[in-house]
C-alpha cells in the first residue's frame, strides 16, 4: 500500500464523515462540564469493533482532538471549564466575555488549538521513533523534577503568596487521600470505602470551578449579569494576531508535545506550564487573569499539541501514557493489532492512515470551531436562570460518570462550597488543581527513587543526579524558581 493510496483513503467521503463526526462528538463532550474526551472515547469504543481498525481509530482520534478544544468554549462563555485542561481558558477568556469580547476570545481559542494540533501531529508524523526513544530516558528521578517544575510555576500565577502556598499544599494533600499504592495503607479515608480510591481531579475541578461559579451566579442580581454583545472581528485579524505571537504558539506546542510524551503526567501540567511561561515573558503580566489573549494562546496551543505526542509512545512502543491513549490501545488490541515498532512494518495501512488522518481531525476541528463560534456565542443570549440549573445538573452528572460513582458528586459539592468561599476570600483555585494533579506524580516517583537508590546502595541524591538529563531538569527547575522570584519582586514594586 503506497502513500498515495493512503491519502486518497483518508480523503474519501466516508472517512471524512467519520472524522467530522468524531471531532463534533469530541467538542460536545469536551464542552459539557465533567465529560471529557476520555469518556467520549470509551462511549464509542464498542462502535469501533465493527469498523475497520484505521477508521475506528480515526473516530476515536477525532474525539480526542475535539475534546481538547471543546472545554474552552464553556470556559470562555460561562467561566465553567468543560474539561480540566480548559481551566486557563476560563481564567483569561471569561474576563474577556465580561468585557463583551467573547467572540474574539473564542477565535483565539480555536485558532491556537489549530496551531497546537498541527504542530503536535507534524511531530507525530516526522519524529515518532526518536521521540519515543527520548521519552524512555525519563525514569523516576526525571519525572520527579518535571513535576517539581510544575509546582514552581504556580508561583507565577499571581494572588497572595501565602494563599497560593496554602492552595498548592491543599491540592497536594487532597492527592494523598486514599489507599496508598506503596504500602496499601489507608490515608485519611475516615473509614469510608469510597475514599479508598482517592479523589480524582475531575470532581475537584467540577467543584472548584463549575459549582463554585454557579453558586455565585445563583444569587446574582440582574445588573451583574454578563450580556451578549455583537463584535466585529474577523478570523483573519485573529490569525494574524496569533502569528504575531508565534514564539508563544511554538513554545506552547513544544511544552505540550514534550509533556505529552511522558507517561502518567497528563495534559493539565502542560497547559499550566505553558500558561505560566506566557505570563513570564509577557510585556503586560498584570493583565493576566483580567483577560489576556496571550494566556489563551499559550494554554490552548499546548493542550491540542499533546494529542499528537501522546500517540508517540503508544504507537512506537505500545506504552499508553494517559487514560485516553489506554482506551485507544484497547481498541487496537481488540482488532488484533500489536503496538510497538513492528506496527509500522506489519500494518502500515493502519499506522499511516491513522497518523496522517490525525491531520484531518485538526482540519475538521478548525472548520467546526471557526464556523460554529457564531452559534456557540448565542449561549450568552440565554438568560442566567436557564443556564444555571442546566449547568448544575450537567455537572452532577459529569461528576458521576467519571467513575460511575455517586460519591464523586458529594466530593464535587463539598469542594464547590470550599471553592466559592475561597473565590471570595482571594484564595487562588488553580494551584489546588495543579497540586492534585502533581501530588501523586511527586510522591510515587520520590518513593520509587528511594527504593531504587536503596537497592543500588547509593543515597537518594546520588541516584537522582546520575543522569545528565536529570541534572539538566534540576537546573531548569532552579531557573524557573529564580525567574518566578524575580517576577514576584517586580510585581511588588509596581
Amino acid at each position: 500500500m503506497d502513500s498515495l493510496q493512503i491519502l486518497l483513503g483518508i480523503l474519501s467521503p466516508g472517512v471524512m464523515l467519520v472524522i467530522f463526526a468524531g471531532v463534533l462528538i469530541g467538542i460536545i463532550v469536551g464542552a459539557i462540564p465533567g465529560l471529557n474526551g476520555a469518556i467520549g472515547i470509551s462511549l464509542l469504543l464498542p462502535i469501533t469493533f465493527t469498523l475497520e481498525p484505521q477508521i475506528g481509530l480515526l473516530l476515536l482520534g477525532g474525539i480526542y482532538m475535539g475534546g481538547m478544544y471543546g472545554g474552552s468554549i464553556t470556559a470562555i462563555l460561562l467561566n465553567v471549564p468543560g474539561d480540566v485542561v480548559a481551566a486557563p481558558a476560563a481564567m483569561e477568556g471569561y474576563p474577556l466575555t465580561k468585557q463583551g469580547r467573547s467572540k474574539e476570545a473564542l477565535y483565539y481559542s480555536i485558532f491556537s488549538s489549530m496551531f497546537g494540533g498541527v504542530i503536535g501531529v507534524l511531530i507525530l508524523i516526522f519524529f515518532t521513533p526518536p521521540l519515543a526513544r527520548f521519552a524512555l530516558q525519563f525514569g523516576p528521578a526525571e519525572m520527579f523534577f518535571i513535576a517539581l517544575s510544575g509546582l514552581v510555576v504556580i508561583g507565577a500565577l499571581g494572588g497572595n503568596i501565602y494563599k497560593s502556598l496554602f492552595a498548592v499544599f491543599f491540592g497536594l494533600f487532597i492527592s494523598t487521600i486514599g489507599v496508598d499504592a506503596i504500602t496499601a495503607s489507608q490515608r485519611f479515608t475516615l473509614g469510608n470505602i469510597n475514599l479508598r480510591s482517592g479523589i480524582s481531579v475531575v470532581p475537584v475541578v467540577l467543584g472548584l470551578f463549575c459549582l463554585a461559579e454557579m453558586f455565585l451566579n445563583i444569587g446574582k442580581k440582574a445588573n451583574e449579569v454578563v450580556t451578549y454583545k455583537e463584535q466585529n472581528i474577523t478570523r483573519m485579524t485573529v490569525i494574524k494576531e496569533i502569528l504575531r505571537h508565534k514564539m508563544l504558539v511554538f513554545k506552547g506546542s513544544m511544552i505540550g508535545t514534550f509533556v505529552g510524551l511522558l507517561p502518567g503526567v497528563g495534559t493539565t501540567l502542560a497547559v499550566f506550564l505553558s500558561y505560566g511561561e506566557a505570563k513570564r515573558v509577557s510585556k503586560n503580566p498584570e493583565l493576566f487573569e483580567n483577560g489576556n489573549v496571550e494566556g489563551i494562546i499559550a494554554a490552548e496551543s499546548a493542550n491540542n499539541a499533546t494529542v499528537g505526542s501522546t500517540m508517540v509512545p503508544l504507537l512506537a512502543l505500545g506504552v499508553p501514557g494517559s487514560p485516553t491513549t489506554a482506551i485507544i490501545a484497547g481498541a487496537l488490541i481488540i482488532h488484533g493489532i500489536i503496538l510497538g515498532p513492528s506496527l509500522f512494518v506489519q500494518r502500515p495501512d493502519v499506522a499511516y492512515t491513522f497518523i496522517f488522518g490525525m491531520m484531518m481531525t485538526v482540519v475538521a476541528m478548525t472548520v467546526i470551531g471557526a464556523f460554529g463560534i457564531k452559534y456557540f456565542a448565542y449561549i450568552l443570549k440565554i438568560k442566567m436562570e436557564y443556564i444555571v440549573p442546566t449547568v448544575l445538573v450537567f455537572t452532577l452528572f459529569g461528576a458521576y460518570s467519571l467513575r460511575n460513582n455517586v460519591f464523586d458528586i458529594l466530593i464535587a459539592l463539598v469542594l464547590g462550597v470550599v471553592g466559592a468561599i475561597f473565590k471570595k476570600t482571594g484564595v487562588p483555585l488553580a494551584p489546588i488543581i495543579i497540586g492534585v494533579v502533581l501530588g501523586g506524580l511527586i510522591e510515587t516517583n520520590l518513593v520509587r527513587s528511594l527504593t531504587i537508590a536503596n537497592a543500588r546502595q547509593v543515597s537518594l541524591l546520588q541516584y537522582m543526579l546520575t543522569n545528565p538529563l536529570a541534572i539538566a531538569l534540576l537546573a531548569m527547575v532552579c531557573v524557573i524558581f529564580y525567574v518566578v522570584i524575580k517576577m514576584r519582586m517586580k510585581m511588588k514594586s509596581m
Binding site: R196, P323, A326
Partner: protein, 323 residues
Amino acid sequence: MKKKLVLLIALTLTLSLFAMGCNDNGGEQGAFPNGNIQIIVPYSAGGGGDTVARILADALGDELDVQINVINREGAGGELGIAEIAASDADGYTLGVFGYPDNFVLEHTRDTDFTFDDLEYLAAFDDMPMGIFAGPGSEFETIEDIIAYGEANPGGITIGESGALGLLHVLAFSDHLGIETSPVNFEGGGELMNAILGAHVDLASTSSMSHDPIMDGGGHPIGFAAAERMDMFPDVPTFKELGFDLEMGVSRVLVVPAGVPDEVKTVLTEALDAIGNDPELKERFENAALPYRYLDYDRVNEVLQRSNDTLLPVIESNQQRFE
C-alpha cells in the same frame, strides 16, 4: 405560540416522568432476560480486563438477544468495583468481569467489603500467566544470572510491578529463587512498560500480554509462571522447567452476586457455554493476544478453589509486605 409551548412542556414532562419511573435493569415479569443487562468491570477502559468484558458483552448480548452495557467502575485496584458487583441485586441483570485472583488477593491483604463466596463464578475465559521480563541491554539473560547477582547483592535487583498480583508475583518469585529483591510499584501497565524499556528497573513482573511490546522494544522474557509452555510463545520457558514450582496467572472470570435464582443461572450458563465453545470467540480472544481457555460453571469453581489453596500460603507468608 403559547399553546405550542404548553404542549411541548407537557410532552417533555411525560417523557421525564417516564424516565424517572422506568428502571433500565430488567423487567419484573416474564422469562429471564427481558431487559438490558450490565457488566461491571472494576478497571478503567482500555486494559485487558475491559477488553475481555467488551468482547463478552458483544457475544453474550447476541446470544441472549438483549443489550449488554459495560460499566467501568475503577478504583482502589479493583476493590470498589468488585464490592459493587457483590452488593448488587442478585437478579441476573448485573454481571461482573474481572481478573481472578484480584478479588482473592484484595480480600486477604485488605479490609474488603466482600469475600470470595459473595460472588458466584459462572465461567472463565482466559488463562494468562505472569512472567518476568528483562529490559533492553540487560545483563540478565537467564534465571541463573538473576540468582547469581541476587545472592551477591541482597536487595540489589529492582523489579517493577503494578497491581496487587504483580507484587505478589515478585515476592513469590524471589522466594522461590531464594534471593532478596526490591519491588518498585508502578501505577499501570503503561508506566511499567516505560520503566522496563528505559532500563529504569532491572526486571518487570507483568502478564504474558506484555510479551510482544517488550520484545519489540528490545527486551526479553526470563520465564512464565505457567503450568506448561504457551501456544502463543513456545520459545519462552516456564519456571517449572527451570526448576521452580511457581504458577501464577490472571484468569478473567464472569461472575454474578451470590444468590441468583437457579433458573436465571441456568439461562446464563447455557448461553455462556454456547458462546464459550464457539471457535469464533476463541479467535477474537487470540486476536487480542489473550490466551483463550474456557472453563464452564463446574470446572471454573473447581479450578478457582484449587488456585485459592495454592495462593493463600504465598499471601500469608508475605503478609507484612502488604501492610
